[in-house]
């Protein structure tokens, strides 16, 4: 049964480190989602595990055995690339049966497996079609089906839902996970879609510029982002520049620009230190008037109102010029907050995260790649 371990893996392309000292483990039957933007190194990571690329430094262990010098064919891992390479002269069914038959499975059994995975990707009705008769999204689903049917139990999927229509992508997420779990696969699934990663993965690994940023359960990564980059990349977050004013047992008091003050729970920074306060948009409360005595009450003017479907998002400029956004579920947003209104903004000290002020400034930390 496949487990996987990477130890200090570095891969260079010329002067660029596509992977920079990456270390992590994937347990047997775990579903890991690797999340990152274009150029983060996620495809290089997958190709290194598949054996298509050889790392310059570090080691890769599959099932506890060092795999660096093992050929791709002998790694018992199947790599499904983003660009689907189907056999053009074979039908969909034959493409999908190719793996099982190569392993000398009996034809009837191979066909049963193939039809089961084709049903999963909603293409059982097109089993007799040739790849050229299918749309790009359909071809990608065939490639995914072929990977699923291959008999390998370590699946390396590069944006497996990427070329699909949005709606279909949403529908297939749950089923892909279910199939992996039912079949006992260990999966590494690369995606740039944070919601996809959170929905499917047992754990998420966030990559940026070849470096591992955070590795943990979706809940952990979302609620305890260890870096500004992760807090920004996963979810929607407000960042405010601040200086620590004082700290005590109950937490710290921070000074925002123009001497506005907020309280936070984290006491780990010294007075006068420059920090960044992070607060999720959905944890930022917005009300037309101040209500009761909420902690951290600020006021500002609504600059923009964005309807997002299940949420309405309000972009607010605070009295000190800082900008924050708050979002309300569309069902609760009937209190009619409009563009140009003055509103009260507040948040719970427990919902904040504090980070050291980045050496290169906040904008550089927020860049996706």
């Amino acid at each position: 049964m496949p487990s996987l371990r990477l130890l200090n893996v570095t891969k260079r392309f010329g002067s660029i480190k596509a992977l920079d000292d990456v270390t992590f483990e994937v347990r047997d039957r775990e579903y890991l989602c690797v999340l990152g933007s274009t150029g983060s190194g996620k495809t290089t990571l997958l190709r290194s595990i598949a054996g298509i690329l050889t790392p310059d430094e570090g080691e890769i262990f599959i099932d506890g055995k060092k795999a660096n010098t093992v050929t791709p064919e002998e790694r018992n891992a199947v790599y499904v690339p983003q660009s689907y390479a189907l056999f053009p002269h074979m039908t969909v069914l034959d493409n999908v049966m190719f793996g099982p038959l190569a392993k000398e499975t009996k034809r009837a059994a191979a066909e049963e497996t193939a039809m089961r995975v084709l049903k999963l990707v909603r293409l059982d009705g097109r089993a007799d079609a040739l790849p050229s008769e299918l749309s790009g999204g359909m071809q990608q689903r065939v490639a995914l089906a072929r990977g699923l049917a291959s008999g390998s139990s370590l699946l390396l999927l590069d944006e497996p839902l990427g070329a699909l229509d949005v709606r279909l992508r949403l529908e297939l997420r749950g089923e892909l996970r279910k199939l992996a779990k039912d079949s006992g696969f260990t999966v590494i699934h690369v995606t740039h879609d944070q919601e996809e990663a959170m929905t499917i993965g047992d754990r998420i690994l966030v990559l940026r510029r070849g470096k591992l940023q955070q590795h943990g359960t979706p809940y952990h990564v979302y609620n305890r982002p260890e870096r500004i980059f992760v807090a920004n990349f996963v979810g929607n977050t407000n960042f405010l520049e601040a200086t620590v004013k004082s700290r005590g047992k109950e937490g710290s008091t921070l000074r925002l620009r123009e001497d506005l003050e907020v309280r936070v729970l984290d006491p780990s920074f010294e007075p006068e230190e420059a920090v960044i306060v992070a607060i999720r948009e959905e944890k930022t409360r917005i009300t037309p008037e101040p209500v009761g005595d909420e902690p951290n009450r600020l006021s500002g003017e609504v600059k923009e109102v964005h309807f997002l479907g299940s949420y309405i998002r309000y972009a607010v400029r605070l009295t000190n010029g800082d900008e924050v956004a708050a979002r309300l579920p569309v069902g609760e947003a009937e209190a009619e907050i409009r563009h140009g209104d003055w509103v009260s903004i507040s948040f719970d000290p427990a919902d904040t995260h504090i980070y050291e002020y980045p050496t290169l400034g906040l904008p550089s930390e927020l860049e996706a790649s």
Binding site: S37, T38, S135, G137, D165, V166, R167, L168, L170, G174, H192, D193, Q194, E195, M198, T199, P218, Y219, Y222, N232, F233, V234, G235, N236, R280, E282, E304, H306, F307, L308, G309, S310, R313, A315, R327, P329, V330, G331, L366, E367, A368, S369
Partner: protein, 368 residues
């Protein structure tokens, strides 16, 4: 100021009909988005407005002038598409001033409009950069600037943000809307990203199989879609087949596997005794461990997944059907476990009733 009128345009590609008698009016100053599944005809429609595609029949007028036969360069439109096409050997400034140069404007005449555009798009810092030195977002902003500098007031955006990373895309979509409004442009924007369409548009057009299914303001299409396909395509929805038992003005009663649910109709009510379909968005279903509320089903939690700002539950109802529920991450709703019993309440004003589609529910909701 441009008003665009598309009348009865038809376009076939071999046996496939991409546009099937489409009528559409885009008002002056309007930000209109076109959405729909792959192959619905949205790209062919915007290309017909741009002049990149010639419709087989029908007409396109811009500002009252019939432009159907005119090529793109004579239509006075700014056209931006997903594949960013900048001149690689020209810097940002020269790329943006290209349109004016072609029109014969002297360098001194170009300066003003180009600088103003670069300022509006926050590109001042990149004036001397070459495309290869820019991020995807900055490249696309340059392409948009170039499309607008030649003075076009009709901006045609064909998946302009499609190739960009999510975060960049989100920031840029708000900038795009601001730009269109500040400059008083008319914009037509084709996108596969429904959140993008919902958040930037004055009007959304939903297409399927070469036809317009429905159009209207984003909030209306999301909260009160007139067509069942809109409910399916924009946002998410649960669909529950039933039979009409009572209809009074807009309020109806529907029988579903022995239970009765109260709902409202959006347009015309199905007749009493006829089959119908109920629809409700996952975030409008209320969960509780105990309740006496009407319109409630006893269910069991079949699956849960954390998506950050919400928890997505799959519930199994008594009749075996499944419900998707999107619940907030705080309160009792956040702590339900697989196998646990839970009550799902459908608030009457959020449960919408539709006629049973003549082609069958599955076909009506199909994306292909």
């Amino acid at each position: 100021m441009p008003e665009v009128v598309v009348s009865r345009i038809k376009k076939d590609y071999g046996k496939v009909t991409a546009l099937n008698d489409v009528d559409l009016t885009i008002k002056d100053g309007e930000y209109l988005s076109i959405v729909g599944p792959s192959g619905c005809g949205k790209t062919t429609l915007i290309k017909s407005i741009a002049g990149v595609v010639q419709p087989d029949s029908g007409d396109v007028t811009i500002d009252g002038d019939r432009v159907t036969q005119l090529p793109i360069e004579d239509r006075g439109v700014g056209y931006v598409f997903q594949e960013i096409a900048l001149f690689p050997h020209m810097n940002v400034y020269d790329n943006v001033s290209y349109g004016l140069m072609v029109k014969g404007a002297a360098p001194a005449e170009r300066e003003g409009p180009v600088e103003e555009m670069l300022h509006m798009m926050n590109l001042e810092g990149y004036v001397t950069s070459y495309p290869r030195e820019l991020s995807g977002g900055a490249k696309q902003k340059t392409a948009i600037s170039r499309a607008l500098t030649s003075g076009s007031t009709l901006l045609l955006l064909d998946e302009p943000l499609g190739a960009l990373d999510l975060k960049v895309r989100t920031v840029l979509r708000y900038e795009l809307r601001r730009l269109v409004k500040d400059l008083g442009l008319t914009a037509v924007h084709v996108t596969h990203d429904q959140e993008e369409a919902l958040s930037v548009s004055d009007t959304i057009v939903v297409m399927k199989a070469g036809r317009i299914v429905e159009s209207g303001p984003p909030m209306q299409l999301y909260m009160r879609p007139r067509e069942i396909f809109t409910a399916k395509f924009l946002g998410e929805a649960n669909f529950i087949p039933g039979t009409m038992v009572e209809s009074k003005a807009r309020r109806v009663k529907v029988k579903v596997n022995g239970s009765e649910l109260r709902a409202i109709n959006v347009e015309t009510s199905p007749a009493v005794g006829e089959p119908c379909v109920l629809a409700i968005r996952p975030e409008f279903i209320e969960l509780s461990k105990k309740t006496r509320k009407p319109n409630t089903w006893a269910c069991e939690v079949a699956g849960a997944s954390f998506v950050g700002d919400a928890i997505r539950y799959t519930l199994r109802a008594k009749d075996g059907s499944t419900l998707l529920v999107k619940a907030p991450v705080t309160g009792v709703e956040a702590s339900l476990e697989e196998g646990q019993a839970v009550y799902a309440t459908f608030p009457e004003g959020r449960l919408l009733v539709y006629r049973q589609p003549p082609e069958g529910l599955e076909k009506a909701l199909s994306l292909e």
